[in-house]
Assembly symmetry: C2
């Protein structure tokens, strides 16, 4: 399969083709997505002759295997050529706000302020510590932060951050979620702490038969059997809802991806393609 | 004196009139400052007949007393009607940046990241602790914060905050400055920490004779003799460079200022005006 619009760079959201195939998005909705110039995805597909004749989903899948670069630094760092992907991390997105009281930076003593900044700093430090305590598979990312009203000489009335928590298994993600809510409750006092839920994408576990087929193929090529979890989403996340699915990772230099410096060597790609082929043959009973 | 443009709301910077009188700003420069519509201060003064005939600075000052609301909550909190201001806090402004490495929130394990966020959180917590250790007169305010590129699922390549440090005496302000630079050096490692200087306004100590004249007047009215330091700038900061100067503070409700809710009761203003009058009479030898 070559899925339409995996990246989502021109038409959002990402993974529209696999999403429609797997029933996540409606076809009419998908065709109606427009780019920055107002051109719809349906029009754009028609213009290049790729709108197709066959009803989407009419072609059933017996199994689905995907070969992808890791988009992370682990394989390269461990000196490995291949990763057997057992699933995809679950993700939770939040907006966390700490509300204080706007005050002039000069006249008001610090002991009389409701300054949300030190509350946020302590909470963030504990959130990172809590995530690290959940092991190397847990992730915490704070990609956005702001202070209102945003004046150098004014104690903010509100500071706001985004929080992205990830874990490959539901119980681990639930522990991260609980940790965040516990910290919000702990620091909710003179300054009010508020946690808003933005998004939840549950962890995905790939099909044991597909993982086994990839493992057997990797073994046949004499490769170390390195099992790992994908941190990023892929078409396989949607396809796994309708067919047995597995992913093979090959390394990319310094973990760089979505970047002109993205690099995987031809021999790494060749090895990945061979494991992909033999995993498919194995699963089809032709090995 | 009624100084032109103390506030700086229409024409920046603030305190232009007293600044020109005291030689901080050039008169031509001051007249040339424009508002949002492009009208110059000189034109605006001419249009209302306030440009004046006498050369600025031609009128000498024997001493200068200013009555002002506190713009902070201390007097009200202590149940006091009057504050004898001994000086104005020194101020240093900085932009602090922590540089990390931009990474996808999923694939890269936290142990392999150069994430500037936990570095910033730890540094900010220590900066607040250090400032509190310098006593109740020290101030630390972080009014601005941002993360670049600012995407929920991306570890920031750079986080940036403003830092406003204040202390009434030069040695105290120097200790705060040193503390910030020590922390920047301590946390400068995998993530680079950079401190940029934005502004420095040294502390002001008012004239002992003026402080004494205010004290004597307050005593005559049977008031507690509460000495304090101003956290905000006033025309007196500039005037103190050319004449013996002092400030009297009266309370304002909840410390609110530059706000429609700003409130000082008539009897508080009356008391302040009486102390102002008697301080001036005392200083002039007419008491």
């Amino acid at each position: 399969v070559v899925w339409t619009n995996e990246e989502g760079a021109r038409f959002t959201p990402a993974m529209i083709g696999s999403g429609v195939y797997c029933g996540v998005f409606d076809l009419v909705h998908a065709h109606g997505r427009t780019d920055a110039e107002g051109v719809s995805l349906g029009e754009a597909l028609g213009a290049i002759g790729y709108r197709g004749e066959v009803a989407c989903g009419a072609h059933p899948l017996g199994a689905y295997f995907e070969l992808h670069i890791e988009q992370g630094p682990t394989l390269e760092a461990k000196g490995l050529d291949l990763g057997i992907v057992t699933g995809v991390q679950g993700i939770r997105w939040y907006e966390l706000q700490v509300h204080g009281s706007e005050t002039h930076a000069g006249p008001c003593p610090m002991s009389m302020r409701q300054d949300p900044v030190p509350v946020l700093a302590a909470l963030v430090s504990e959130l990172y510590a809590h995530t690290r305590n959940q092991g190397d598979e847990a992730r915490c990312t704070i990609g956005r932060m702001s202070a209102a009203p945003g004046s150098v000489n004014t104690v903010p009335s509100c500071v706001k951050i985004s929080v992205d928590l990830r874990h490959p298994d539901p119980a681990g993600l639930a522990r991260l979620d609980e940790g965040l809510r516990d910290l919000a409750a702990k620091y909710d006092g003179d300054c009010r702490v508020e946690v808003g839920d933005l998004w939840h994408s549950p962890p995905v576990a790939f099909h044991p038969d597909c993982i086994e087929a990839i493992t057997a193929a990797a073994e046949a090529f004499g490769l170390p059997l390195h099992r790992m979890v994908s941190g990023a989403g892929h078409d396989s996340v949607y396809v796994s809802r309708v067919a047995p699915t597995g992913i093979i990772f090959i390394p990319c230099k310094e973990g760089l991806s979505h970047n002109e410096a993205e690099e995987t060597r031809p021999e790494q790609a060749e090895l990945g393609a061979n494991v992909l082929l033999h995993a498919m043959l194995g699963r089809a009973g032709c090995a």
